[in-house]
Symmetry: C2
Subunit: 606 residues, 2 copies
């Protein structure tokens, strides 16, 4: 990650090198004001763990100076250099950089405009003395020469499985064994941090397998790689749910994770500077045993979605057909020829409606509020393909570089960078959107027209990546009803305007509660209140109340509760941020000083 | 594989381009003599499937002309170009090349000396119209838009598993599900060739897991990658047997192989242009059912080793201790303080002796004939590291390029290329070898001092890659006895010179029968005789009787029996040659003409 290159004397390289030299000089002199003067009046420095032991963005010269005054002596940053030839476009020089701190080696991205920093990203990529055993550092696998009473790899794995959590306590317990827990578990295993992953499902991947049968990833493969083992060139663009389940299962096996499946976390309370975590573990023989784990660090990786959220609707108990939340929808097979009403109009609602239609059901979607729809092809072509596509790979783009570029875009202005993408998508798909609206569908592109990714960051909901269902809505094959559901009868769904929808099946594709709510079941309401809202930027848009924080609240960084961490997100976020969360946990295990700059304030107990 | 590069005007590139132009001109003119004149008087053209639908090496101008006269019209080779900048060293220009034929796209390697070809390798890498669905051709994974009665990925996998071999016949059946069968199965899956892998063990990887517990790969990780999913950067240099077992198991899962574990092949007979293969398949409930498979093609991937070979020794039935072949050795745990006699002095013998010593047994190795020993470190540093090492990877070496370079070395002169490597190893490890010989160990470096790889190719035995046991032999911790075993008593092993070795345990590390012998159990002795010896080059050295064939007999290429193929070897050979065997099978499935040039004659019925 920190390989140096020929410091070529292109104009862009000269400018970037000059800036880095001046920056280094100011840092070495501990002159925060001089360093701040190198930033434009509108500028953003996003640091991920390297200067701040936090994930935080400071703004303008004042923000830069404040960050540096608080951190410089401890961090002692040195060795700034270009890690590859910079690019220049439209007056912006973009340079990948590398540097070192007291604790480790870092990298990042610098954008210069008129010789001043417009954006700076700095990340800590590895801890000195605790480098991951990769490539030239990989283990031998077997100790050559002869040793009395050798323990084989298989024996040591069996021993570890028998001891960890019983006679030997883990440093970290991760609650939740989806892609988030698995990616983090793999990083921690490489860093030598003893970890147990607790997952209520039996096998890794089951959280995907158990969902509705037509589910496939809506994100393309180039965006979805896990750390260490990228998907092969043969992997499909959009992973079917069971195939991603198999991948996660094999990944947990070959990355040697201590994965406790069929295990439920009952509670976690603070105890002696760490945690007492009570779990119920089901053995291979089906017996259930309560085990108390005593880790120093507790990570909640419970999924970006909380508990299924089913609206209180009068008459639900009277309804004689099938009714279930989307998370419990078994698939369409037994509903051929039946009348299905799907309440909701986001991703799950669309997927389930389409699958029911494909199986021959009579399907009505109930849209309760406007929805952002973007066609998968357009999102890939216009939104992702510079960074995550076959074309990008062919042009030499690596996953880490793409992630770095993506992470370097300041959240404060991300909506202004995203809006033109969605303008272009609207133009490209004008006919599609027109037909959808003519069918009565309420469309939006976010409150500031910034599209899907901002909705994901702000609220984690409110959109559909179209893989086919919208066409069925537009041409009336999926019927559309609008408004709030006010009542269920024995065989109908009744809307606020009096519309009565005959139904053999009602699916509540009505979303999920908050991550905070899910956490409170484990850590208790008081502690959940103490750490506050999880996810969201504080943009002041729907479901993302202010004040502005500038980073995802409580994600992958120190919370108001010592020893408590949140991890999760889609495969891409799980991949990228798992590194930085793992390094924070490793540093604490090793006793490396980790003074946190500007720990975020808590504003919402929600 | 066939990407073109700037045809730079370096002297090496000019010379290589000039040669390729002249070669192309001669080929286009169908002038075999003109093409032959471009080869040096001592020269070797190795073709893998691209011109010959065979794996064959021709020698000198006469050989080249003969090959071309037989193949040119059908093959119509065009588009020869350099695929990267050539290298020049000691007057030899080495150039990676690409070209096309009627049937597909190929690549290779050209070595020029004084403007003439000294060696040429040509390989067929893909079939036109049947390119593997990789990278830009990868499948979508899910069909976007809506379709009535959609079948999900999971449903189609379940359906395929239920149908294939019962209501739908596979094109190919592979007997043997070790790394060979698995690598070939993965290639065939990508090529869309319906295939069943039959394996007597329950799970993929069991053929590794079931061996003695201290077993680890003696080949380093860079040499061992399977196709499509390379080992991650965290993978150990030397895979412990259970870890490689896990990898093979996950690989078979995620590559979607139809892997019939717990299934034994009883017989295979020709029937109607294909095969009738009778297998006994054990279901998950333990019931055994006989199934008759009717593939067009049958691949035997039974392992480079045949059946365990245990010498007939008088008194074996009288011996009161434990005795077993090395393949059945359970590990050393119950032999602490016991007297163990291990008969043999190759890899397994050394590994088992060392493990027994480590567990506290009193160990004697019985050396019956001289053995080639090479230290693992030295083999890696001097034998493999230019092609397969962290250093090679860092210098931009890819696995395919390394395999190509390795495959380009003509078997006829490989011993002369290898001998200097072993001279250097002998010099480097002179003290080690001296001490080993002082302990009485009979050393050799092959009959022509060409070392390990040639022994592997010629006879597949006769060596030990030292990972520690030799030190125990040298210092007397493992006792050494020499000669033939003539008798077992109740509690002794008796040697030809009258030496009596007290024993609680006798391990027969006495090798394996031939692949041909193993095949005859399935295809019958007559057909086994018809196809003849499998493996070996025909060098006329011990266990590799002539006449010279110049390629491994019967491996990965057409045999004397239509529809019968042999596959196997270590992980590296399984990786590389599985591509070319898969392409031969695919071409036959698609009805592509596959005229075989110079099918090898059969000289040995064993």
């Amino acid at each position: 990650m920190t390989q140096s290159v020929d410091q070529k004397a292109s104009a862009a390289a000269s400018a970037a090198n000059a800036w880095l030299s001046a920056f280094q000089k100011a840092l070495t002199a501990r002159d925060a004001d001089a360093a701040a003067a190198l930033f434009a009046s509108e500028s953003y420095w996003r640091d991920i763990v390297s200067f701040t032991w936090n994930i935080t963005t400071v703004e303008g010269g004042a923000g830069v100076a404040d960050l540096l005054r608080a951190t410089l002596d401890e961090v002692d940053p040195v060795g700034f250099l270009l890690s590859e030839e910079p690019a220049e476009q439209d007056g912006v020089i973009t340079a990948l950089i590398a540097f070192e701190t007291t604790a480790g080696r870092g990298s990042g991205l610098l954008r210069l405009v008129d010789g001043k920093a417009f954006t700076l990203l700095t990340t800590l990529d590895e801890l000195k003395g605790h480098e991951e055993p990769l490539n030239g550092r990989r283990p031998s696998g077997v100790r050559h020469r002869a040793f009395r009473d050798r323990v084989t790899w298989a024996e040591s794995r069996v021993r570890e499985a028998a001891e960890l959590g019983y006679t030997v306590q883990p440093e970290v317990v991760i609650i939740g064994g989806g892609q988030g827990g698995i990616a983090l578990g793999a990083r921690l295993r490489q860093l030598g941090v003893p970890t147990i992953i607790v997952e209520r499902n039996e096998r890794p991947g089951d959280s995907w397998r158990k969902r509705y049968k037509s589910l496939a990833l809506h994100d393309p493969v180039w965006y979805d790689h896990l750390p260490y083992i990228p998907f092969p060139a043969s992997w499909p663009v959009f992973s079917p749910k069971d195939k991603i389940g198999d991948w996660l299962e094999m990944y947990a096996l070959v990355m040697e994770l201590n994965y406790w499946g069929s295990t439920t976390c009952k509670s976690a309370v603070r105890e002696g500077g760490g945690w007492s975590v009570v779990v119920e573990r089901t053995g291979v023989d089906g017996t259930v045993a309560e085990v108390t784990l005593r880790p120093r660090q507790l990570v909640l990786a419970l999924g970006a979605s909380g508990l299924p959220s089913v609206p209180e609707i009068p008459g639900r108990e009277k309804f004689r057909g099938d009714q279930h939340h989307s998370s419990a929808h078994p698939g369409p097979d037994k509903y051929k020829g039946k009348k299905a009403v799907v309440i909701g109009s986001n991703n799950s609602a669309h997927d389930i409606c389409a699958a029911l239609w494909e199986a021959g059901a009579d399907v009505t979607m109930v849209q309760r509020s406007s929805t952002h729809v973007v066609r998968s092809d357009s999102l890939m072509d216009l939104g992702l393909s510079d960074l995550y596509s076959e074309r990008a790979v062919a042009a030499g783009m690596t996953t880490f570089k793409a992630d770095t570029i993506f992470a370097s875009l300041p959240f404060r202005i991300l909506h202004t960078l995203q809006a033109p993408v969605y303008d272009a998508i609207r133009e490209r798909d004008a006919d599609f959107y027109r037909r959808l609206e003519q069918a009565g569908f309420d469309l939006d592109f976010g409150e500031d027209d910034s599209g899907l990714f901002l909705k994901y960051l702000r609220r984690g909901s409110g959109y559909y990546i179209d893989v086919g269902a919208s066409e069925l809505v537009a041409n009336g094959e999926i019927k559309l009803a609008k408004g709030q559901v006010v009542e269920l009868t024995e065989d109908e769904v009744v809307l606020g305007d009096g519309t009565r929808l005959p139904a053999d099946l009602v699916v509540y594709a009505t979303g999920y509660g908050s991550m905070n709510q899910l956490a409170s079941d484990i850590i208790g309401q008081d502690m959940a209140n103490k750490v506050g809202k999880v996810w969201g930027l504080g943009s002041g848009t729907t479901k993302d109340p202010g004040p502005w924080e500038g980073e995802l609240r409580n994600m992958w960084k120190p919370t108001a509760q010592e020893g408590l961490w949140f991890h999760g997100g889609n495969l891409a976020l799980s991949r990228y941020y798992s590194l930085y969360l793992a390094l924070q946990l490793k540093a604490r295990m090793e006793g490396t000083p980790t003074p946190v700059y500007k720990r975020a304030e808590v504003h919402h107990t929600e």
